[in-house]
């Protein structure tokens, strides 16, 4: 069983500055941490590995300082990590990020399963995992709550579709994203930290990738154009609608219409 876990380094606090010109996160000088959602993905991978054997490798895209997050995955239990770091990839939106990362996945040799966190705490889109899977042409399931069965041919998972839980069987290779609190992630091991160094992490630049179309990477490869980023207005007014999805739909439409919002 060969697993690749995609992770991201995110700002360590919610006090994040955004470049007013490019709309890109200012990462310099800001303490960083491993995206908390990715911890559940890592734990899911380690548990599958404990049961089925094989390897867990981690993969991230980001500046050089993201090596520390990949090392953290190694201290938690990953065998090795790959960092994709090149200014040409900077400013990638969801689409460009998915394109670049799946290009690396293709180059990482055999894999059965790709696991991602449900979303990141900085981007919050929850789209990169499924979009990568589409580009890789493999089956995928998002918001996975539990891994019910793993065998040589595939995996059975239960996913959270809000109103219902769905159990889904997929053949390898496939991709899953793990729901928050699906497990309790293990802690990084100091013993592993002492035993394993930076040589566990391979850093790739654009030139190391076999078949990547640079026009599809970075800001220029991103169809999303950020016009403006601003903190949301804080509004404590709250109205709670209750009922079935159909009733809620009607009630919400009526509410919006009455306020001339639609």
């Amino acid at each position: 069983m060969d697993i690749i876990v995609c992770v991201k380094q995110v700002p360590g606090t919610s006090q994040v500055e955004i470049d007013p010109v490019t709309g890109v996160l200012k990462r310099d000088g800001v303490a960083s941490k491993l995206n908390p959602y990715d911890l559940f993905a890592l734990e899911a991978a380690f548990r599958i590995q404990e049961q089925a054997g094989g390897t867990v490798r981690t993969l991230s895209m980001g500046p050089d300082q993201a090596i520390s997050s990949l090392l953290e995955t190694v201290y938690m239990g990953a065998g090795s990590g790959v960092l994709l770091s090149d200014r040409r990839f900077a400013g990638s939106d969801v689409h460009a990020t998915s394109y670049v990362i799946q290009s690396v996945v293709r180059q990482m040799g055999h894999f059965d399963l790709v696991i991602c966190g449900k979303q990141t705490t900085d981007g919050d889109t929850a789209q990169v995992g499924p979009e990568m899977a589409e580009m890789l042409g493999i089956e995928h399931a998002a918001n996975v709550l539990s891994i019910d069965e793993v065998d040589e041919a595939g995996i059975t998972v239960t996913l959270n579709l809000d109103d219902v839980l769905q159990t889904q069987r997929m053949a390898f290779p496939c991709l899953i994203t793990i729901e928050k609190d699906a497990n309790t992630p293990r802690l990084p091991s100091y013993r592993r930290m002492k035993e394993r160094g930076k040589d566990m992490i391979t850093v790739y630049s654009a030139g190391d990738l076999d078949a990547v179309d640079e026009s599809r990477c970075g800001l220029k490869g991103s169809p999303t154009q950020v016009e403006r980023i601003f903190p949301p207005e804080k509004n404590r007014d709250k109205e709670l609608l209750e009922g079935t999805p159909q009733e809620l739909q009607a009630a919400l439409a009526a509410l919006l219409r009455s306020r001339k919002l639609i």
């Binding site: 941490k33 908390p36 309790t184 992630p185 293990r186 802690l187 990084p188 091991s189 100091y190 013993r191």
Partner: protein, 463 residues
């Protein structure tokens, strides 16, 4: 003896406070008859939800004149029956006096009313970039209660206990007189410290109606480490070496897997690691991340040299939450695991912790009781719980008494004391009396008499 509360007394209380804050009979919830743990129960005759120093003063003056017993209660999270109205009378509840009155950034102090909850004070301090270091597991306790028991908590190793953070108190004496003890001063050699006499006096000397507390600048970095061990003995025996290494630790907690499993059940949430029989949980704080890490890694190396198979980093908010939330729930979790329990909160010299805990295991085997424990290995304060499980009343009472006798005897042999932070209250009186010499008890009784000649304030407690 004491006077029973009459209609005219109620009339007075309704005028002194306000009618809606004076409760009697079935208006008083059964909760007010006991605290969180101690087996002792008794209802007050009247419950007054007090709102000001002036109110408390008027009530105390009246009660003193009429010889009506008065007991002060905060959130009722005590564990030794200190806030139980064993003689009935008037109960003054302080939780309505829950305002944070002043943050003095020039003197690094915060003034609070006694009913402010620890959890609220800690959050308020942090929001303003300060640390209020005392950190008992029970975060819903009031500050008044914390001062009255001299609560300690998990950061005592580095910062000390509640006493070390009390700068001034406004106290209503049993006579009704109001005194202001201490001040916003850092040093004080001005006569006997009545301030410190009040701290830890368990509501027997006066009613605290305002407290000025010392704050520290909030450390920028705080990292914990969960260190597993193959036996509880190995875990606790590593502690003297850690202390001797002069490591600057904020917390050194120990616990066993069994306790963690109870906490998992209680919280409905898994702990990050339960594969080892015992753990130490260590914290280092400071302002420089690399310095904090270096100190923590030095201790991790020391633990591994002492036989710890690994050490796990608890370095992010999410990881701290997953570990410390469980630690904070241990008492409740053990309570939920049994039908009834009682606790010994002994404190022993730090190099005797292992010996004492191993002895509690012997008692458990000998008496066929379940006696889980956890505690502050770094300061020698242990929380040992004797669980009733399926025992019938008679067996439970006699085995509990025997277990306690053995434990307190051993604590005394090890030069320990009856209570580290929960106090004596009502239920631990025999053990205090047995552990201190007669001269000390007489001095305490004399002090009580000076403050409260009619013995109306929290009578029947401590000794």
């Amino acid at each position: 003896m004491y006077k029973t509360v009459t209609a005219s007394d109620l009339e007075f209380l309704r005028v002194a406070a306000s009618p809606d804050r004076v409760l009697t009979g079935t208006e008083i919830s059964e909760d007010y008859s006991h605290d969180e743990l101690a087996g002792v129960k008794h209802m007050p005759e009247v419950l007054v939800k007090v709102a000001s120093t002036e109110e408390v003063s008027a009530i105390m003056r009246y009660a003193n004149e009429h010889r009506i017993p008065v007991v002060v209660r905060g959130s009722g999270t005590g564990l030794v029956g200190a806030a139980v109205a064993i003689y009935g009378g008037i109960m003054l509840e302080t939780t309505g006096m829950n305002q944070i009155l002043e943050l003095d950034e020039d003197n690094l102090t915060v003034a609070v009313q006694p009913g402010v909850l620890l959890i609220d004070l800690a959050a308020y301090a942090e929001k303003n970039n300060f640390l209020y270091p005392p950190d008992p597991g029970e975060k819903s306790a009031t500050i008044g209660g914390n001062i009255s028991t001299n609560a300690g908590g998990m950061r005592a190793v580095k910062y000390g206990v509640t006493r070390d953070f009390v700068r001034a108190l406004t106290v209503v004496l049993p006579s009704g007189d109001v005194v202001k003890l201490g001040g916003k001063v850092v040093k004080n050699s001005s006569g006997y410290s009545l301030l410190h006499l009040m701290v830890g006096s368990e509501g027997t000397l006066g009613v605290i109606t305002e407290a000025t507390l010392k704050l520290l600048p909030l450390p920028e970095v705080s990292i914990s480490m969960l260190v597993p061990f193959q036996t509880i003995r190995a875990a606790i025996e590593a502690v003297p070496a850690i202390i001797k290494s002069q490591a600057s630790l904020t917390a050194i907690e120990f616990f066993e897997r069994e306790t963690v499993l109870f906490a998992e059940d209680y919280l409905g949430k898994k702990f990050p690691d339960t594969s080892y029989p015992a753990y130490l949980l260590l914290t280092v704080d400071g302002n420089d991340r690399s310095g904090v890490e270096a100190e923590l890694f030095r201790v991790a190396d020391l633990c591994m040299a002492q036989g710890a198979p690994d050490a796990f980093l608890v370095d992010t908010d999410e990881r701290k939450e997953s570990v410390w939330k469980a630690r904070g729930a241990f008492l409740e979790a053990i309570k939920a695991s049994t039908t009834e329990m009682d606790e010994a909160d002994v404190v022993v010299p730090r190099d005797k912790v292992a010996e004492f805990i191993i002895y509690t295991h012997e008692i458990a085997r000998q008496l066929k009781l379940r006696i889980p424990s956890f505690g502050h290995a770094g300061d020698g304060n242990l929380h040992v719980y004797v669980c009733r499980d399926n025992l019938d009343e008679e067996n439970w009472r006699s085995l509990l008494a025997e277990a306690f006798r053995l434990m307190y005897d051993r604590a005394a042999q090890l030069c320990g004391l009856v209570s580290g932070e929960h106090g004596i209250g009502y239920v631990k009186k025999p053990y205090l009396l047995a552990s201190l010499d007669a001269a000390q008890i007489e001095l305490m009784r004399g002090i009580k008499k000076v403050f409260d000649p009619n013995d109306i304030l929290n009578p029947g407690k401590l000794f």
